[in-house]
Structures are given as C-alpha cells and as structure tokens.
C-alpha cells in the first residue's frame, strides 16, 4: 500500500436548510475528515441520522438538493471532486467509483434480463464490444461468486434471490475496474445466512481486485467481520476512528462505549443491557393500581398458558379467469407450548412462517389445521362475544413497524386509550390521566400524550405501542420483531423495558425475530423455524450452545461475531 490515500476527505461540511430563507440549517455532516487507502475496507458506523449515507452521496456528487456542501474538500487520487460539472462526475461514477445500494431488488431494472444489465455497464464503461463483452460479463459474475453464471445472464431479477441480485450488483460495480466502491448498507435487506456469504464476496473482491471499499452500515457485527478501519459518526459529527478491533473492543469515547454495550451478544445471555445513561422511570404511581387490580384469578391456575398443537396454515392465491387457485403452506404442523411468565422466541429467516403463527394466535388469521389452546380453552371453541372480547384483551401484540402501528390521526393518548373507552373499561374522564400514567410507565413524558404520532421517533412510537398493549392488562404479549426497525441503542433500551415490564406484571412473551442475538438475550425457550416447519425447539442455552439441527448450526455460524466490550464496562452477568 502506498502512502498517498486513494480518497481523502478534508473537513467536509454538508448542510440542509431548515427554513426557506436558509438562515437555519441542519448540519448533516460537520467537519468530517476521512482517508481511504487502496485495497482497504473502511467502515462508517452510526445510528440513523448520523450522516453515513450523506458521505457516500457527497463523494459521488449525488446529494439531493437542497443539501449542499458548505466547506471542505474531497480528493480522489489527485482530482478535486467538489465543484465538478455533472458530465465530469459522470466520468467518475461507475468508472472510478462504484456504488452498491441497500436493496438489490430495486437497484436492478426489473424488465431487463441480468445479461443485458451487466453488458450495458460493460459497454458504457469499457472499450469492449459484442462477444468480448458477453464473455467478460460471465467472468464478472463468476468473480462475484455467482454460480451458473451463463444461465443467470438469461434470467430476470425477480427470478433470483436477494443475495444473488446483490452479487450481480457487485458484478456491475466492478465492471469498469473502479478503485473505490461505496457500499451503502449492502446486506441490510438480506437474511443472515446470505449476509455472511455476501460479505465474504465483498472481502474477496477487495483483496483480489485491489479495490478500496467504504462500507456504510449500522450493524456492528458486519463491521467487525469485514472492516480494517472504522469511523464512528453521530448526528453528523466525528466521534471516534481507529483500527476495527481497537474501536470495537476498547472504545475511548463515551458514545462508542454505549453503542457497543447496546449490541446484543450471541455468546452469552445477560440479565439486561448495561447502558451507561439509561433513563430511569419516574412518577409511576396511580397506573400500577389500574394494571394490577382485577388480575384474572386463574393467574397461577395452570402452568401452561398457551399450547399449540400441530397447527398448519394454508394460504390460497385467489383464482382468476385464467388460473386456478394455488395453495401455499405457510406453516406446517408446528407444535409448542408456552409457560406462564416465560419468554419464548421464534427465530427464522424471512418467509419462515414465524409471524403467521402469531397472527393465528391473535385471531387475525384462521387456523387451517390443528388447535391453539390458550388459558385452557381452544380458540376455535370461543364463540360468544363476551368470551371473545376477554380473550382478545388478554392477548396483545407489539408490532414490527413503529411507523404504521399507530393511528396517525389520533394523539398518542387517544391511541392508547381508544379501545379501553370503546369497551367501557374506563370512563372518558379518566382516560387522559391513565394514558399519561401508561406513558410514564414506558419511559415517555406525561405531556407527550397530546402529541400526534408523527412527532415521535421510531423508538418512542414503539413505546406508545407497548403502552397501548399494556392498557388492556394482557397476560400474553406477542412481540412481532418489535425492534427490527430501530437503532441498536434504542433497541437495547426497549428490550430492557420489555424485560422490566415482564417482571413487573408477570407477562408471558412470545417473541418473534430474525435476529439471533436478540432472541439469545430475550428468550427462555427458542423455536427455530424454516419454510414453515419448526426444526428445533429447546432452551436458550441448549439451542445456542449445543445446536442439533444442521440449519441452526449454519444460522449460528453465519451470525457476524462481535465479542463485545463486556470486560471494560462491567456487565451484570446472567443471574
């Protein structure tokens, strides 16, 4: 490696105007400096709003107006990149700098065959033509670890999996032999088993082709597996930089330390995340009474709260004039049981049927076969409206997407108490104070109850969702990937909150996630699912330490390893 950096960014500042006069600005990037040497993989890590993607876009001159570069310089080898005309930028994009997008499915053109898209990139950026370009395309695909490269060229993007599509995006990116590739969250849209092999390809490309890679990601695990050097950003400001091992395991800054402490570990189970400045809950008074009074008397009657026996779910595509309806088996013969006060995790990749099970328990989907017995009663046998309602209210759900799980036209408080008012569980005079109490219970401010959902961040909205579920005094909460849309530090706070609430109100949780580490930290019992089947079922430790099924082993192997900084900050170990 030579001493002159391939890419040099000096004191870069990018601003967004906050009002039409431009007097008030948001600094998306504040005085950022960065060096990339050829063949090096550097990681840019940060939570949402940190300005990670802005760096990538600024390098390529792709900042969307009204964002603009206020000061600083970007130098690629010896060319100053700021202030170039659009056509000058064109000669850099693709040619010298490749770009890899987060979602491969939308980065490829759905109506063109893979071959046409790869060859188009070759024709545009190299002197090759015809047969030569075709052969080069096959070669590129092989270099990006695409098997059966010749056949794949004849396929359309929708016929290939997300991982393969991302490899094809890699192939297109390296077509012109660029010196630098900017990869913006390249594996975020992919399943974990695919993610690790795609990252391997990325590392291989960097080494074999001597390409420098800027890897923009929120995932500490991905960074620890791939990057040589890391920059940590927060709110557009530079926090810390250094060798990956150094930054991840011995961070010097407070923020980096708390970020690393938030990453759920897979190695061992902790009692709770040790967060340096976790907000303490204050002012919880009256709501406790509300939540605890009239607890169902059969609370400790039977140990098993939920028993699922051989359930299956078949979805049918609707029949049309030209096509008979087709059956799709989303869940196949799954059985498990959940004990009171326990947390059971269902882990699986997308399409494994894990959410469908929850939707059947909640009564949102019909059960095709098998039985679900909740609190000693078969769900199918509940017919009278009163029983139905009681059942409804004792099983609640925390949803995946905080941006769509609240009614945007109701205030936070109304969202929480609307159902309670409808069922006359509280009168409307007390509704507001109850909403405020529930909000403090989940760590929000009392006066926030009057705000509309759009005024809250994703993590806060998720807290409102939890408050709404708690309002019904449930025994059982189905958590459908409650933290997958959140930043890692927000996730840690939320998981801690869930653990506390579970303890306080003796809740039973059924926790669905694709993230093994989250499951590891949250659950007592784990069910591993794939393609609708439950492959393995066992206690947390037995699954994670002595996996039996081949698929579980491959899942665990694929997880990015991040050992954490447990020693440095003194975790509370598992009790």
């Amino acid at each position: 490696m030579n001493n002159i950096p391939l890419l040099k960014i000096n004191n870069l500042t990018v601003t967004y105007p906050l009002n039409s006069e431009g007097s008030d600005v948001l600094k998306a990037l504040d005085n950022i400096s960065l060096n990339v040497n050829s063949g090096q993989i550097i990681g840019i890590v940060g939570e949402s709003g940190a300005g990670k993607s802005t760096i990538g876009k600024a390098i390529l001159g792709l900042l969307d107006p009204p964002a603009k570069i206020v000061s600083g310089e970007i130098t690629l080898t010896d060319t100053a990149m700021i202030g170039l005309s659009e056509s000058q930028y064109e000669s850099f994009r693709g040619n010298q700098i490749g770009y890899i997008y987060q979602n491969p499915m939308t980065a490829l053109n759905p109506v063109l065959k893979i071959g046409e898209q790869v060859i188009e990139a070759i024709l545009a950026n190299t002197a090759m033509t015809g047969k030569e370009a075709y052969n080069y395309a096959i070669q590129l695909l092989e270099r990006a670890d695409v098997s059966f490269a010749k056949d794949r060229l004849q396929k359309y993007p929708h016929q290939l999996s997300g991982g393969l599509c991302q490899r094809i995006v890699f192939a297109i990116a390296i077509a012109a032999k660029p010196k630098l590739i900017i990869a913006d969250e390249p594996t975020t849209a992919l399943d974990v088993t695919v993610q690790s092999s795609v990252l391997q390809t990325l590392i291989k490309l960097s080494q074999e082709e001597d390409i420098a890679i800027i890897l923009i990601t929120h995932d500490i695990g991905v960074v620890s597996e791939t990057c040589d050097y890391v920059y940590v950003l927060r709110n557009g400001k530079h926090i810390e930089q250094g060798e990956t091992v150094q930054v991840l395991e011995k961070p010097t800054q407070e923020y980096t330390r708390s970020l690393m402490a938030s990453v759920p570990l897979i190695e061992k189970r902790l009692h709770r995340f040790a967060l340096p400045n976790e907000d303490k809950m204050e002012g919880m008074t009256s709501h406790l009474g509300y939540l605890e009074e009239e607890r169902k008397e059969n609370l400790y009657l039977n140990k098993t709260i939920l028993k699922v026996t051989n359930i299956s779910k078949i979805f049918y595509t609707s029949s049309t004039l030209f096509k008979r309806k087709e059956a799709f088996k989303a869940v196949k013969n799954v059985s498990f049981s959940v004990n009171r006060g326990e947390t059971v995790g269902i882990v699986g990749e997308s399409g494994s049927g894990k959410s469908t099970i929850g939707r059947m328990i909640l009564g949102l989907e019909d059960i095709t076969e098998g039985s679900i017995i909740y609190n000693g009663r078969d769900l199918k046998s509940i017919t009278s409206p009163e029983d139905r309602l009681a059942h409804c209210l004792s099983i609640q759900c925390i949803f995946q997407d905080p941006y769509s799980s609240l009614n945007p036209r109701m205030t936070a408080g109304e969202n929480i108490t609307y159902g309670l008012k409808v069922h006359k569980l509280i009168d409307s005079k007390n509704a507001k104070s109850l909403a405020q109490d529930l909000m403090t219970l989940v760590g929000l401010q009392r006066h926030d109850a009057d705000k509309l959902p759009h005024a809250f961040s994703g993590g806060e909205r998720q807290r409102i969702g939890i408050a709404r579920a708690l309002g019904y005094r449930p025994d059982f909460i189905f958590c459908d990937e409650p933290t997958s849309a959140l930043d890692v530090s927000v996730q840690a706070n939320l998981l801690n909150l869930l653990k506390d609430l579970q303890e306080q109100f003796s809740l039973t949780l059924l926790f669905v996630s694709h993230d093994l580490a989250v499951i590891r930290q949250m659950c007592d019992q784990v069910i591993v699912m794939k393609d609708g089947e439950a492959l393995e079922n066992g206690s947390n430790d037995s699954i994670f330490e002595h996996p039996k099924h081949l698929y579980t082993k491959s899942l665990l192997k694929a997880m990015p390893k991040f050992k954490g900084i447990a020693k440095q900050v003194g975790f509370n170990d598992s009790k």
Partner: protein, 301 residues
C-alpha cells in the same frame, strides 16, 4: 377536547402553503370566492328579482347592455326577450348552478366514500357488488346516463341533483376503496382488530380519516364537472325549470337570438360559466399538485 383555535390556525397555515407563490391559483381562489359571495347575496344585491314575473315588462325586451329600462333603472348587461335584466338573471343563475353542484357533489362524495369504505372492509360479495356497480356506471358516458335518467323521471332541480349524484359517486367509491385497502395493510388496523374494536368504529375512526385525503383533493374537480354537467343538461332543456333559469338555461335562451345580433343574452352567462369553471379548476389543480410532490418536481423540470 378539540382545540378549535389551534385547528383553525393550522388550517390557515396549510392554505397559505398551498397558495403562496402561485399568483394564478390565488387569482382563481379570489375569483371563486367572489362568485360564491355573489351567489349567496344575489337576493340583496341583484337589481331585480328575475323569478318575479309580475315586475317584468315585455316592453323592456331585448334591450342591449347599458340601456334604460321602463322604470328608469339602467340594465348594465341588457335584457332578454321577456324583459329580464341579464345581470340579475346571471346572479340568480349562478346561485342555482352553484347550489345544485354543491349539493350533488357533497351527497355524491359522501355516498361514494361510504360505499368505498364498505367495499374495502367487507370484501367478498359486498365488494363485488359495489365495484361492479362502479364499473357499470363508469362504462356509460356520464352525460348520456344523466339524460336517460332525466328523460325517465322528468325535469326539476331535485331530479337534476339526483342525476348529478349518480355521476359523482362512482369515481369517489373507487378511489376511497383503493386508498382504504392500502391503509388496511397497516399495523394499526390489526392493533384495533385484536383489541376487539367493532368493525364500524374501525371504519369511521381509523380508516376514514386516514384514507379520505385523496378523495378530498378530487372534490373541487368534481365541483367544476358538476357545474358543467348541469349547464349542459339545462342547455339541452332537460335540467332546471324554465322559470328558474340556471347559467346553462340562460345560455340556451339566448341561443335563438345569437344569429340576429342579440349577443348579450348568451354571452354574459357563458362568460360567467367559463370563468367560474376556470377558477375552480385552477384552484383544484394547485391543491392536487400540492398534495402530489411528484407533479411538483415535474413542473420544475
């Protein structure tokens, strides 16, 4: 409790953000407000009551603009064959046209939105029946359908309102259904369902406020369409009764005299009709553009 003052303030900010920097849209809005005020105040500001046949003097018939009437007053826009002052007739005609259009569009939109929500939430045969009815309605040219209805049921202000309602509801139902269907995919609807909130409440309190925006944007368009349709029907003689002329009927009245040099009878109501529809369309376009950022950026390029 709802803070009306605050709501009003946000509404005025919203209106400002829609219209500021768009002089043509502002002109359209002002024009529309002037027309509505004229229509509302017509009985007090019109020089004569054109519906009162007792005060009409046949001797004043067919006078050109700015001529003196028998009773000494000036007829600014001339008179028609019966001696009716065109200015007053236009004011009253505007009143009737706007009334018919407002009533028809509000009832038609309400019915359409309700049926659209019903189709989206119920699904199954309810949805099939409603949506096939929409298809059926849309497959006829609107004006032909209205003509057929009026031919069967006879004419009159109420009949023309029914005919216009039938023209309005279908597109609103279709739009509401599609926007409600995409809203129903969201998790807050599931959250409401698992909390045992009854379906009709989910429909009114959750789906309606969140899926109505695109329909409201269409309302001004529907209004100008309804005004045009009413004028067409009245012009064809199947609309409002001849004693209570709307703008369309006034144009039809003057039609016979157009070739004999008595241009003012048709032209003035025509100009008012065209500018009214134009004003509404300009405002409607602006609102639509404001609600669709994609159109906005297309505009800039």
């Amino acid at each position: 409790m709802i803070d009306y003052k605050k709501k009003l303030a946000t509404l005025s900010i919203e209106i400002k953000s829609i219209f500021s920097g768009h002089p043509i849209a502002i002109a359209g809005l002002i024009g529309f407000i002037v027309f509505v005020l004229t229509a509302l105040l017509a009985p007090w500001i019109a020089p004569q009551n054109p519906y009162d046949l007792m005060i009409l003097d046949i001797m004043d018939g067919l006078l050109p603009p700015l001529s003196k009437l028998g009773n000494g007053t000036t007829s600014w826009l001339g008179t028609d064959a019966l001696g009716r002052d065109i200015l007053s007739a236009v004011m009253y005609g505007l009143r009737l046209s706007l009334f018919v259009a407002f009533v028809a569009v509000s009832i038609g939109t309400t019915i359409g939105v309700f049926l659209g929500l019903l189709a989206a939430t119920k699904g199954g045969w309810v949805e099939s029946v409603i949506m096939r009815a929409v298809d059926l309605k849309v497959s006829f040219p609107g004006i032909l359908l209205a003509l057929m209805l009026l031919a069967v049921f006879g004419t009159g202000v109420d009949k023309i309102i029914y005919a216009l309602i039938i023209g309005v509801w279908a597109s609103k139902a279709r739009l509401t259904r599609s926007s409600a269907l995409s809203e129903m995919q969201k998790e807050y609807i599931d959250a409401a369902k698992i909390s045992g909130i009854p379906n009709w409440r989910i429909m009114l309190k959750f789906l309606l406020p969140n899926s109505i925006a695109p329909v409201l944007v269409m309302v001004p368009m529907a209004l100008s369409g309804a005004i045009g349709a009413e004028a067409t029907l009245s012009f064809l003689g199947v609309g409002v009764p001849i004693t209570e002329p709307s703008l369309g009927l006034l144009i039809a009245n003057g039609n016979d005299y157009l070739l004999s040099g008595k241009w003012w009878i048709s032209i003035f109501p025509g100009v008012v009709l065209v500018s009214l529809v134009l004003c509404i369309n300009v405002v409607a376009d602006r609102i639509r553009e404001h609600n669709n950022p994609y159109l906005k950026s297309m505009d800039k390029q």
